[in-house]
């Protein structure tokens, strides 16, 4: 199979990029794999990409930031998408042109807006897999409506958790589309696991409000005096940096809470710690939780929708605490610091339990989904065949809806074709 991933940018650091690179690397062993980055702002990706995976970009911001078409708003990329402002008439056109000409058997979209492109613009013979790395319940209603129209035209939609897959099945009418949870895969660790003795608590992720590093720092402040010599290291960069720096300063924790900046190879950083922590209000999956576990760290996390609860077994390989509860988070961290025996045991369990997210099982599942979508396309039928009685009704609805979606998109496509 020739497999193409369509990604917002392959040139930054984040969960979607990491998991896309991981899956691409694993698929490259048996397939021809390329990653198509809509935007590019630097010469090389920050994260390392397997040399067998080819990489191309559609809009190079280093030269095309001021391109007249890039200054005009996008019309295919949905307005309600989080990254709408970064998209333009130029990205609409380049993505459309690339899709029209692709020789891939299957294209995998990696965010809602790109899944919409795929749904509306992929040629008939190309299988369309939409990946949702975010969660339906967190999408604004206007985005949900846009997706409700477009996602029916996908072959398969993957979410990163069972909970989110269930939400799509329940709330979106997508006849014929397979909806399945495909967890993020985390490569097998290379380094020996943490021995659980270093007095370091580690957190990693973009410094954005939803990650609640403010809550984490405040929770650490509660235990700093009782846990002498323990350090909290926060890896990542982002808009919250200066605010978090001020918080660390105001709490007098400048020698204890270290804002480490972004690091590309987190594995070497996890193994320096004994406990990992995540304080997010919402976590579509929680790649860093699995990464930390695979390095032998128990993870103290908020039990936020949807990922952590599907990854961590409370008390066994980590702790789940209520969302936004500073005291509970502090108490769980204090217990993890003080109870050496539990920490070591939970760390070993974490390493073992993280194996279900190893590339092996996840890639097998991904290959099955891709092959199924490709053969359905070749046979010109939906991926999911409903039971006969139901299928007549659903199919009828499906066509009507498909037509509606098509007519909505048609205008845009005509505009694009004229500009050609």
């Amino acid at each position: 199979m020739k497999i193409s991933f369509l990604i917002h940018s392959a040139y930054a650091i984040g969960g979607t990029i990491t998991t896309t690179f991981n899956l691409a690397r694993a698929l490259a062993a048996r397939h021809e794999v390329e990653i198509v980055s809509v935007l590019r702002n630097r010469e090389h990706p920050m994260l390392s990409l397997d040399p067998r995976v080819s990489l191309r970009s559609l809009v190079d911001l280093r030269q095309e930031k001021e391109h007249p078409s890039h200054l005009r708003p996008a019309r295919v990329f949905p307005r309600a998408e989080y990254r709408y402002r970064e998209y333009s008439e130029l990205t609409d056109r380049r993505i459309g042109e690339w899709l029209a000409a692709t020789d891939a058997d299957v294209v995998i979209g990696t965010r809602p807006g790109l899944n919409v492109h795929l749904a509306l613009q992929a040629p008939r013979h190309v299988a369309r897999i939409g990946q949702e790395h975010l969660t339906l319940d967190r999408h604004p209603p206007r985005l949900r409506s846009a997706l409700r129209r477009a996602y029916r035209r996908l072959d398969t939609l993957t979410t990163v958790t069972e909970a989110d897959a269930a939400a799509y099945r329940r709330k979106m009418h997508m006849p014929g589309v397979r909806v399945e949870a495909l967890p993020n895969s985390v490569p097998d660790p290379v380094l020996p696991p943490s021995d659980g003795t270093a007095k370091v608590i580690v957190a990693a992720g973009r410094l954005v409000p939803v990650k609640r590093y403010d809550l984490l720092i405040e929770a650490f402040a509660l235990i700093a005096a009782d846990c002498p010599d323990w350090q909290l290291r926060i890896y990542g960069k982002g808009e919250e940096h200066d605010r978090l720096r001020r918080l660390v300063t105001d709490l007098g924790l400048y020698d204890r809470v270290l804002l480490m900046g972004a690091v590309t190879l987190m594995e070497a950083e996890w193994v320096k710690g004994s406990i990992a922590v995540a304080a997010s209000d919402s976590e579509a999956f929680g790649m860093t939780i699995v990464e930390a576990m695979s390095c032998g760290l128990p993870v103290v996390s908020t039990d936020c929708p949807h990922g952590p609860g599907e990854i961590i077994e409370d008390g066994v390989d980590g702790r789940l605490v209520p969302v936004g509860d500073r005291d509970a988070l502090g108490a769980a961290l204090r217990e993890a610091v003080r109870d050496d025996e539990w920490r070591l045991r939970a760390g070993r369990a974490a390493r073992k339990n993280a194996r279900r997210f190893a590339p092996g099982p996840v890639v097998t599942q991904a290959e099955r989904l891709l092959a199924e979508a490709v053969s359905a396309r070749r046979a010109d039928r939906p991926v999911l065949r409903e039971r006969p009685r139901v299928s007549r009704v659903l199919a009828g609805q499906g066509f009507a809806i498909r037509d509606t979606a098509h007519s909505a998109a048609g205008g845009v496509l005509r505009v694009l074709r004229r500009r050609g």
Binding site: L49, V190, Y254, L258, K272
Partner: protein, 271 residues
């Protein structure tokens, strides 16, 4: 898209508590028999010091060991792959650096002279080793900053506190103004703390701004020992550990770690 950078080989490394570094080339890296470490020269200066290490096969990988006894001059050392002895060198990109043995290094007692090495990644992604070589060292364990002063807790390695020990603050630049502070010595002869009064320091700084470098003179007539934070896994702590700025009558004072992880105080503004 295969660019030169992606073809550049990666090397990881592991460091032991004794400072021994094992460099590791993954399978598939280009042929090569040796690694070369070179002390990065100052701009415009020729390169002077190199270490060459033999690569040995280790399963499908290859490794080279920089022995704990090999003395690295203080500075930044870049790491290259040599295809064969004397051949053209190829810079190595940084792979996984297992530095866990360095975490908590300040809790150990270091013999003199202190040879500290921290493998790190350069801004452009290459593997390098930060080395410090000091006859003795004063490790800053922590600083308490108030609006009026700062109190530093430190611990001597390779020296002990004697009668007449002082903390010396030396103003950078011509003239070399020096101020001294009495340290408070711990019972072990190694640990000490001292407080720098911001009002006095602000008054003692010439109009404009200045930087005061902090050292300990462990005994009368003994050489100065620079205070810094070298004994862990952080090669660059300037942007990681940031102390608050005190505003003192229009003068801003702030302790900070220099690019060499030494402790200094910056004074800014007109008194």
């Amino acid at each position: 898209m295969n660019t030169d950078r992606e073809k550049q080989p990666h090397a990881g490394c592991t460091i032991g508590t004794d400072g021994r570094i094992t460099f590791d080339l993954p399978p598939g890296a280009p042929e090569g028999q040796q690694l070369l470490l070179r002390l990065r020269p100052k701009k415009g200066q020729p390169e002077k010091t190199v270490h060459v290490l033999d690569l040995e096969p280790a399963g499908e990988r290859r490794s080279a060991v920089l022995d704990a006894r090999a003395v690295l001059t203080e500075g930044r050392w870049d790491v290259y792959l040599l295809r064969e002895p004397g051949s053209e060198r190829q810079r190595l990109r940084a792979g996984l650096r297992d530095l866990r043995a360095l975490v908590g290094g300040h809790l150990r007692r270091w013999p003199a002279p202190l040879a500290v090495r921290t493998p790190y990644v350069t801004k452009d992604g290459h593997l390098a080793v930060r080395a410090w070589l000091r006859t003795a060292h004063a490790e800053a364990d922590g600083i308490d900053v108030t609006g009026r002063s700062m109190t530093v807790r430190a611990c001597l390695h390779g020296a002990s506190l004697q009668e007449g020990a002082v903390v010396s603050l030396r103003l950078r630049g011509a003239g070399a103004t020096v101020r001294t502070v009495e340290p408070c010595a711990g019972d072990d002869g190694r640990s000490l703390s001292f407080t720098v009064d911001y009002a006095e320091l602000a008054a003692g700084t010439p109009p404009g701004s200045g930087v005061w470098d902090i050292s300990v003179r462990p005994a009368a007539q003994a050489p100065l020992i620079r205070v810094g934070r070298l004994l862990d896994d952080l090669a660059d702590r300037k942007d990681v550990v940031v102390y608050p700025t005190a505003d003192f009558g229009g003068v801003a004072l702030r302790p900070y770690y220099t690019v060499d992880n030494d402790l200094s105080i910056e004074v800014k503004g007109q008194p």
